[in-house]
Symmetry: C2
Subunit: 225 residues, 2 copies
């Protein structure tokens, strides 16, 4: 009551007094981010509206804005929450493991994520495709560092002859693009395969092909001059 002015929404004080966090807050923010994921992943940031998100979340627009003060804040919260999870498979890439097996399981994992979390994949795809205006820092920071680290691992493998000599960065790009394709371009994949091949077997087929491609393509057998 010190100031007659506006009471601050909860998401701001949260930083100040970290202790208090209502059950309702927990639930509603969850609800909102879930809806936001639906909408942002389907239309991109600019193409999405707060009203859409509110409708999907089943609450009024001002109510949304009570928890997240702006559309940007929603998007940011979503990105932050999803990014860590999204990089998990790459983080699991183990320098000590068997190269062939590591690559194989990385492909598997990425493909599973494309199957099980297509909205998350599309969220990033939309963002990056449109110039990554909101996640540039994440790309140049944490992402680059992680990739640099893993590229070094791969380079070591190539040097010791465990896999064919190749550019580790482009290898990683290729695994990303081929696997995420099944989430991001799902409509196209379905359209081309037709109904007959659009069942769940689709992902098994893709996994088999990609393993064959990458394992075969990286086999150190012959000298690739």
């Amino acid at each position: 009551m010190n100031f007659k002015g506006k009471r601050q929404p909860v998401t701001i004080p949260r930083a100040a007094k970290t202790l208090r966090r209502t059950r309702i807050q927990e639930e509603k923010e969850e609800q909102i981010l879930e809806a936001a994921l639906d909408v942002f992943s389907a239309s991109g940031f600019r193409g999405s509206t707060i009203d859409q998100i509110a409708e999907v979340a089943g609450m009024s627009k001002p109510n949304l804005l009570y928890y997240f003060r702006t559309k940007e804040a929603m998007h940011r919260a979503l990105i932050d929450r999803v990014l860590y999870t999204w990089l998990e498979p790459l983080r699991a890439f183990d320098a000590e493991g068997n190269p062939e097996e590591e690559i194989r399981s990385y492909i598997r994992r990425k493909l599973e994520m494309a199957r099980d979390f297509p909205r998350e994949s599309r969220l990033f795809a939309n963002e990056v495709l449109q110039g990554a205006p909101h996640i540039e820092d994440e790309l140049k920071g944490p992402l680059k560092e992680l990739v640099d680290e893993k590229a070094e691992v791969i380079r070591a493998w190539t040097k010791s002859g465990k896999i064919a000599k190749c550019d580790p960065y482009h290898l990683i790009f290729s695994i990303w693009s081929t696997t995420q394709h099944y989430a991001d371009f799902d409509v196209q994949v379905r359209a081309v395969l037709g109904q007959e091949h659009s069942g769940e077997g689709r992902f098994e087929d893709a996994a088999r092909f990609l393993e064959q491609l990458f394992i075969g393509g990286l086999r150190p057998d012959r000298s690739e001059s």
Copy 2:
């Protein structure tokens, strides 16, 4: 003067009297589509505004709408114009050619398109990513037919043992995704590679890697049980 009502914009009569088509029409429509490509490819359909396009095109909004009556009409005209060109590389896939060489040059061509026409790539990527609401018919029609045809060619190659046994559809998907990645996710690629590797050599590196990957991965050498 027969009707006092609105004069029809040119793009409609065009269908009726195909003969007349002004020099100005030619130029302005070109100008508009060029600007529209800029904007749509950067923000997707829903995220783009007519005002943006008008500004890029250097003309007033009503003037744009004189040539294309709606935002949708612009988008459609753009899609129609670009689609044929975009499928050209796949169309060039030759059943009679040497499999290894055909695949190699298909990769090259797709990669060149990603480098030289990134906006076109992103235009489609945006559209497909957001559920292809405007090009569903094209995907299920012309695209599917072309892919079916070329998949048959590849299948013949695998059966005759010229390349390793593999799913032709997923092979095509993989070539699409890996090559278009360099256009669609350009920002990410740059961010990860850093400035030092973001020069023109980038595409040469990518080409080398992808050829190695696909040629190696499809070599029929050993029996892939």
